[in-house]
Symmetry: C5
Subunit: 356 residues, 5 copies
């Protein structure tokens, strides 16, 4: 299931470019459309029943519009929304295809960005990935998610506050806010990994076992996948910084720079985790082999000490008629003593050579 | 057979540049030339018997021409076609030489692109590689393949639909369509690999055996070869995007950008597969060595416990005349008991040190 | 504790950008604000009780002002200072968030730089990291540290000397001096590591043991973390060199170039240490396995020599009625001699094949 | 012999730059100078006895001159030729010093290129390397080789054909032809390596032995050395493409692009071979260790089964006076049966745990 | 001693930039100042007793001045020289601090370059490193070394020859000559390493032992350190080529290009040595493990054959009253024969499975 997702995009192979098909796992049954229209004075928040309802709020001067769609299965809804806002079919195709690499594309009349929201399901110890598409148009933001539930609630709270910068600024600042919320959440994920790694490191010292290694390998693979989502963010954000478009205002630039900085921090942490995980494998392997060596050494030494002694016993177990020692009164204790001596000398020799 | 293909191009060594020789495996006996002439109103589809037949359709204003050649063995046919369309000998040499690296070259009067079509033969579990050359001229496309059978059938279907974008747009959009079909097919291949990798990973956990490793190594090498075909596509497509030529229209640019994006997705997946395969080798090696260690440990412990006991038995097998214990009524059970005790103590000691 | 710091920034997730929260470990209970106002004639040094006191020294023409804050816990103090000097909330957020990557940002009216001061606690063998933020404004420097104690004392001494370049130059030279002091200190840290590595290398030759490897791994990880703090310094300093701002004077450029050079030296040393540490792991592993091999070889040879001898003894311990050798007068010595011969021959054979 | 060549250039250490000394192995005793003067009408081919003879053909308008020198030992000859054609002493020094890295240098009045010709000696399984220097001047080409024998014979044939492009074009096209011949030959070498690798891979599966590994290592090193000769060719050719000089005509550019493409193909193959060789080492090591493990496992299991049985036999070999079992009529068969049972149970247990 | 040098620069930590302290090992007790003043007609060579003596030769039109200082311990001498020639304190600091990374810095009135001279002490098998600073001013060169003895003697010889290019050209050509002499000497070092590697490789095949590996590791580390000195030379020389300064004349450019080329050759050789050394480690490890495997295999097989035989002997050593075989006339020879058969069959089986 996991690896097949790397080779995704299958179901629309052979279709004309811009043919709309939802490619990816079905994550939501129904589709939820919520609308926020706001300026510094007013705020209208509404859950839409039909796409048409949003037309009333479109192109209202001085009013910012944010339409968020949760669920990608009702293609006709997304198609309709696309036609109202004049979104290019290639953009809609990308919105519906959840195997996108994070990117930013300038379509002149709007800017399209797509990125991966990561939600930590702390119970199941799983990371849920939800592709978020953000379309930044003049006076409006369209956002699309694969299913309900996101990391934008704090942002919605701030939006309700009439004194917040969000309410006063344009939709480009809202777009910044959405991306910022997604990236901020990466820090939570990384912190979670950080704790796991500390625990793992402890385990590596205390009691390294095959399952420890399995966990390390699992985290390494998680990092490969996480990395795939985060590295392209650099380009995405610097794309937004460099784009020559009136959709991104000068005053938002300083916030984008901050965002870029956070992305680099996330990347740095991922790279550091990777390095640390790699060295954990080395620690594991060497401590396993140390332990195995210790066992084998002790056991081999026991065997080695007793083998010559058993030989001696074997010699005096031979049935020759003429073995004078066997007739001696003190033959038995003498042999026992000799054997004890041989054993002790061997042991001391091993000790001296630091084998024990 | 495989590796020699890496050091290809042999048979025309020493020939003048532009001398036409088919270099590569013979994959087709006969040559099939099919012609499609179309505009938004009309569509002519025809299988040509002689190259000359296509001259009737050449340079017809308002008509797009697509000539596809399957099979590279009849050099005179390709030479003739080349002379009709004024193709440079160096281009024809590349068409015939199937060891090309994907590339795009601007010859001013036309653009030459060459790439690798990959066809998954699901029965034989083999990937067939077919070099596709596409020449984009004013009003015409020439395409060359090594043998019949390709991934262009859905495109041909769309071409039959008079309302499709393909019929309305120029040949540059057709060229885009051809390249897009090839790249879309890579996703199918990658999906196939994705499934194989999942199965392999299962096997690595359940029952790792040398053949598992052999498969991993095979896939690693497949990835090396796949990578060689895909990496240069980036350059090819960005070459098409940047080329200063009237052959690529402004309106096609947006589709090329989409193509570029898909290429990056393919590359990303290949790199991720490579990373995953590498870590699979590590998992394999460590699980094999874990298993070996477990076996050796148990066996060594059994041996180690019995060696001292055998020594004791050896001692009482000695034939000394004066060994008082041998005369004791309870000598035998006492010794047996002692040996049992020694064995149990050793076992418990090993247990305590977590060796068992 | 360590790894979680890589995934930092958690506590202000979801807050509006520019909301001030101290993110990181609390390293100081109280906050200490010290003020230095100076020019070539005059020097005023003062520990401030309230932030307001510094207003008297602000914007005094011909006077350079340096305000240093130790401790980040009293947010209101930092907020007030920020508002007096018109510092952007995003800057203050970075000052308070101690998970910053070293960087330099031009805010037009001031330049913000942040870097990591490293203090070697030679007693505890620990490196204390203290994030230092330096704000270079017109005629003033604001610096923020996480706790009291820094590497700036020699600089403060030089500042007291009225003939020093520091007193005569502007605040950009003071900023250079602060950064230089931080980087100079890295050399001390590296020298410390150099000594440790020499000692380790000795140990690797004399007596390699698991704890040696553990130390190597620890140093490797230290280098990963150190590297994270130092690599971005290159960009920071070349940013200062290239910035188009009147805040950095032409005459300071030559000193920045020197600083850049030192940074490269630090990076080079870190990379060399990393290479050396990597090869130490190889040396360790091979010397451990050499040693293990030596032990196993000797022990196995002892066992191998005695096993056939024990067999011979076993043969003459059989109780067959008709074993003529047993009745021979010289049977016993003959057998003993044969066994000695077998042992010697085997030993010589092993010797010849260089197994012993 | 091999590695010292990496640290070459020794004998002219300390000499003034431009002092002419032949540095490298003496590969030829005598020196052979051949002259080709040609245009589309005429062709003069001549072996020169003295350098002076070529002066007659120098600076003849409408005539292309190619002087090829085989053998570098008669320094005065090369010096004279250099002075006639006004070649800079630094160029001549490079011609004579056979440790050159392939490169292209523009001396304004001529262009100097140096590259490595590789000749496969199929009998001795050796690759002979011959440094070729090509000086492209106005109307003339000077080429220098270390010894007789080269890959230019097909080119000489084409030169004899008055209708060939070579005869009609200028000396820049001849220079292209020379470099092309050298690079084409790399394909032969790579094909040879390809075959060797296939054979090796077979051997790795059939019967891996230390000599297989030795061959893999040898090929890896060959690739390191081959790579050193080929990588710089990219720069060399793109240098020729970008050089602003009238010596390279516009019409030759398209051929240089083709050359560049071939170079990339060679590099790609070398890199792929390197990757394949690396993974062969892994395959070898794991199959060797698999085999060793199989042996050790079987042997250890045999030993482990018999050790407890031998103990039992030892017990009943003890000489206690009171051992009731020894007196039982069926003691012997009972013990034998028990031992058989123990052996079988142990074997089945091992079987069940999949150790056998 | 070695590694601490990587973390150098310690003793002037905390000092003002430009404060002169000799940082590094004391390599010379006394200081030797030699002066060469020359033009194409005249040459004055003199060992100075006081720094002041050189003032007489300074700023003499048409006269080139070279002052070389061996030994860095008398800071006042260097300070004085610095003040006479108006050298920036930061330059003098770098001259005195022997932990410099090779670099080139343009101070407008002069160019400062610093590089590492390597002297091979063939007796002690040691490489002595001596930091050489070269200051190229108008009409003068100042050079500083850590101690007497250098690689400039051939250059001094050429300087005595009135017809040499050195005498006729300016000081920039002398600077080139000095750097060239240093780099030429690297070839000698590399040649020395090349010979050592050949010897090592022989040893790896003939008789691999732990000390072979130790030597390989030592050379690997030597290469890491050598690399650190050589890589930055590329930048140094291309800096000299690109510098916009009248101090480097147009005619010297061609010689700098040659120098650049040599540097690349040195780097290439170092990289090739590194690759070869890495693969030597692999060869060593695999041949050691091959050998160990061979030993263990033979020994284990001997043990495995005798263990069942010993068991049989043990069976007939049991003291049961009723063991009919013991009473048979041919029991003994029959058992001996059986045991011989068992041994031979086992041996043949092992042989067949290619374990012996
Ligand atoms: Mg970073
Ligand atoms: Mg990074
Ligand atoms: Mg990275
Ligand atoms: Mg990294
Ligand atoms: Mg990196
Ligand atoms: Mg690695
Ligand atoms: Mg990517
Ligand atoms: Mg990638
Ligand atoms: Mg990667
Ligand atoms: Mg890559
Ligand atoms: Mg990558
Ligand atoms: Mg460096
Ligand atoms: Mg570096
Ligand atoms: Mg690095
Ligand atoms: Mg490095
Ligand atoms: Mg480095
Ligand atoms: Mg290279
Ligand atoms: Mg390529
Ligand atoms: Mg490549
Ligand atoms: Mg490469
Ligand atoms: Mg590659
Ligand atoms: Mg590569
Ligand atoms: Mg790779
Ligand atoms: Mg490097
Ligand atoms: Mg080179
Ligand atoms: Mg190189
Ligand atoms: Mg290289
Ligand atoms: Mg490297
Ligand atoms: Mg390299
Ligand atoms: Mg390499
Ligand atoms: Mg490695």
């Amino acid at each position: 299931m996991r690896f097949t997702k790397l080779g995704k995009k299958q179901s629309n192979v052979g279709l004309a470019p811009g043919t709309l098909v939802h490619v990816g796992e079905k994550k939501a049954e129904r589709i939820v459309i919520s609308l926020w229209a706001y300026n510094s004075e007013e705020l209208i928040e509404k859950e839409l029943q039909t796409v048409e309802e949003c037309l009333a709020f479109k192109d209202k001067p001085g009013m910012n519009l944010w339409v968020n769609v949760d669920g990608l299965d009702q293609i006709e809804v997304i198609e309709k929304l696309g036609s109202y806002f004049k979104i290019h079919p290639l953009t809609l195709e990308d919105v519906l295809n959840t195997g996108q690499r994070p990117k930013m594309e300038d379509y002149d009349s709007y800017i399209y960005t797509v990125l991966k929201m990561m939600l930590l399901d702390t119970e199941k110890e799983e990371i849920l990935i939800d592709q978020v598409s953000i379309i930044i148009g003049p006076g409006y933001i369209l956002s699309f998610q694969e299913r309900e539930g996101d990391v934008f609630d704090p942002l919605r709270e701030r939006l309700k506050n009439p004194n917040s910068r969000l309410r006063k600024a344009g939709v480009d600042y809202l777009a910044y806010g959405l991306i910022d919320a997604v990236i901020d959440n990466y820090f939570l994920i990384l912190e979670h990994f950080g704790e796991k790694l500390e625990y793992l490191e402890d385990e590596l010292v205390r009691d390294p076992n095959p399952s420890t290694l399995k966990t390390v390998q699992k985290y390494k693979r998680d990092m490969i996948l996480l990395r795939k989502s985060v590295w392209p963010l650099r380009e995405l954000i610097s794309g937004l910084q460099k784009v020559e478009s009136e959709l991104i205002k000068e005053t938002t630039q300083i916030y984008l720079r901050d965002l870029y900085d956070h992305t680099i921090q996330v990347i740095d942490s991922i790279e550091a985790f990777r390095d640390i995980l790699s060295s954990m494998v080395d620690v594991y392997l060497s401590s396993i082999s140390n332990r195995m060596n210790d066992i084998m050494k002790v056991l081999t030494i026991i065997a080695t000490i007793f083998i010559p002694l058993t030989f001696v016993a074997g010699v005096y177990g031979m049935n020759f008629d003429y073995m004078p020692e066997l007739r001696w009164r003190l033959g038995y204790p003498a042999v026992m003593l000799s054997m004890a001596l041989i054993g002790i000398i061997m042991f001391l020799y091993f000790k001296k050579r630091r084998w024990v």
